[in-house]
Amino acid sequence: MATTSQAQFNANLKRYYSFYTGGFVAFVVFVGILEWFGVPNKILGYIFLFATIMLYAGIGFMSKTSEVSEYYVAGRRVPALFNGMATGSDWMSAASFIGMAGTLYLTGYDGLAFIMGWTGGYCLVALLLAPYLRKFGQFTIPDFLGARYGGHAPRLIGVFAAVLVSFVYVVAQIYGVGLITSRFTGLEFAVGVFVGLAGILVCSFLGGMKAVTWTQVAQYIILIVAYMIPVVWLSMIHTGTPIPQITAYTTVLPKVTALEKEFNDKATPKGAAEETVRAIFRERSAAADARLKGLEAGGAGYLTEQKKALEDKVAALKADAAPDAKAIEAAEKAAKDYPTDPAAAKAQWTKDKSGAAARAGAVKSHAEPFAAKDEKARDIAKKNFLVLVFCLMVGTAALPHILMRFYTTPSVQEARRSVFWSLFFIFLLYFTAPALAILVKYEIYGSLVGTSFAQLPAWVSNWAAVDKTLMAIADINKDGIVQLAEIVIGGDLIVLATPEIAGLPYVISGLVAAGGLAAALSTADGLLLTIANALSHDVYYKVIDPNAPTTRRIAVSKGLLLVVAVIAAYVTSMKPGDILFLVGAAFSLAGSAFFPSLVLGIFWKRANKLGAILGMTVGLGVCMYYMIQTYPFFGINAPRWWDIAPIGAGVFGITAGFIALIVGTLISPAPSKEVQELVDHVRYPNLEGDIDTRAA
């Protein structure tokens, strides 16, 4: 199969990607020169978007293949270093690239659950799964379940879980793609989704895993460069050193903490100014509460009464001897917007009340873990933090699109090394994100707060004009000076606005958008391929038609890829639910369905078919049951078990899965000798007289 030796192949790869990186830097410089000559920003945005998508399409086209092992596992010759990069970009989604630093900005310590969870899970991958799966050496995760536990049932449950998990996750990714394309090109969100989809398909459609792998390596390079440049520059500005990962903690964090104390201390001038704004929000919250109480007492009658009062006020203003046009307009708007439906009124006012109450509160300390009002609330916060970390870690070690990547290395040894490189490349971004959050926080607390509204920095007014959900700023207490309580920031702003905050040219903003797009596209690619492979390989080839010729197997996979992609894009364009919850749900579901049966399948020879079937169904069932019962979207809102939030449903699912697997195994006979030999086979990288499970 191989026309060149592995060593030659590796050397060539290094050369190609060095050229590629050089070429990409030259491209960025070229766009920078265009900007210098006055090409408008919108055009630069288009250039970045289309140039990178064309690039991915080019790699996808060059890697087109019709060979089964190339299509499913990239020919099993991806060296550890490159598999690490590919896994890195497969792993880091739009949520990591754009959302992570923002989450940390908004939640401080408590957001670190994502940082730890999404990196620590690789310890489980490395120690418990990757080398053994590589030795097993087939194409998909259900393949392993099918061979280890025997029969079609474990395989098909595995397919169901893999499709469910990947689909939930891919919707979140395509959402990210749509968001970035629409923001940087001005296209409609739904159009942006389908443009992005085209970008996803050109990579995976022609060349399957082979094309996806080499595009993902290219995408990793873009995303890491795009993430690092603005952060390093911002660090240079604030601390004079280019290592934000250290200076953020040694020099910037103490300043942020000091400012937080000042804002919360009414005796200082800044604290007093904050207090005037908070007082206004307390009043608003109380007013909303009063309206809610009135509604509860008077029902619909209260609404008509109040609306009437507002209309009377309009009439009175109009009848005035010297009518004030502005006041009339405001009064008319108030009367017109006044809710008439009691349910709508209740929802609106409840939101007003809690929104105002939140802004009336004190500044949360960035470094303080589990901040809450009393000891009991702190314990609940701590418990949920640990549970979330656990679910994210175990989920990481059970996501089929990640585990599949370790089938692609040339050997078990390379698989082990490759997990190291994967985590290393992921680590580069994840240990920068908390530092970025601190740097931006300092910029806002230290510089933006206290400036006059007449002289807002350009980036603030720009973003406030583009999107109110990302940046909203208003002079609430009319003193002409910005107070912290007058600013509302959306998490996604942090990464998107960093280049402007650091005073870098627009070309870097375009680069960041290209990086975000690369992150979202690469993850979506891996996920779509996982779904299509599970259906074509595990259902069609292994169950329906085991004699299907190669060409037909690949054709079926490509057809399915197209169908799944279109369905996913359609679901996304309807904007379902909260992205962070979707992502969290995918991890809990994956952990509950796969982790017990994969790990015990390797480490416990006795584990058998009945155990695996019970373990997977019970695990997945408990996890889904708890989510449906407690997540507000489903409208049941049952009481929580031990105060665990719905995003941590996996902790129950995983535990239940392990128990069910063990019980199911012990009440039925031990697996056959062949299966026990298979377990020995995956445990040793090389055995004499070994069986061969490798797929052609």
Binding site: T119, Y122, L127, L128, K382, R416, Y684
Partner: protein, 87 residues
């Protein structure tokens, strides 16, 4: 395929190493987070509780995986279960 004593010893050593590294992983993640409020009283680089979550734990994870790959790849050779140069 018959496993020799040597093979069993290899697997035992693998299990032992896996157990030790998982214990380190567990302490760095869950025990440290459990005491995060208390650890924040100590300042090394930054408040220790916060710093461990933001960076310290991550560095430990990378080291765990690096050590495991190195150790196991040597162990394979020591016990003669390493792969030949197939490709």
């Amino acid at each position: 395929m018959q496993l020799t004593e040597k093979h069993k010893e290899y697997w035992q050593r693998n299990l032992k190493l896996t157990g030790i590294l998982l214990a380190i992983w567990f302490v760095a993640t869950f025990v440290v987070s459990w005491y995060a409020r208390e650890l924040n009283e100590i300042i090394i680089i930054g408040p220790v509780g916060f710093y461990m979550g933001a960076q310290g734990a991550l560095i430990i994870y990378v080291l765990i995986i690096w050590f495991y790959a190195r150790y196991m790849n040597n162990l394979d050779k020591e016990y003669g279960v390493h792969e030949g140069e197939e490709q």
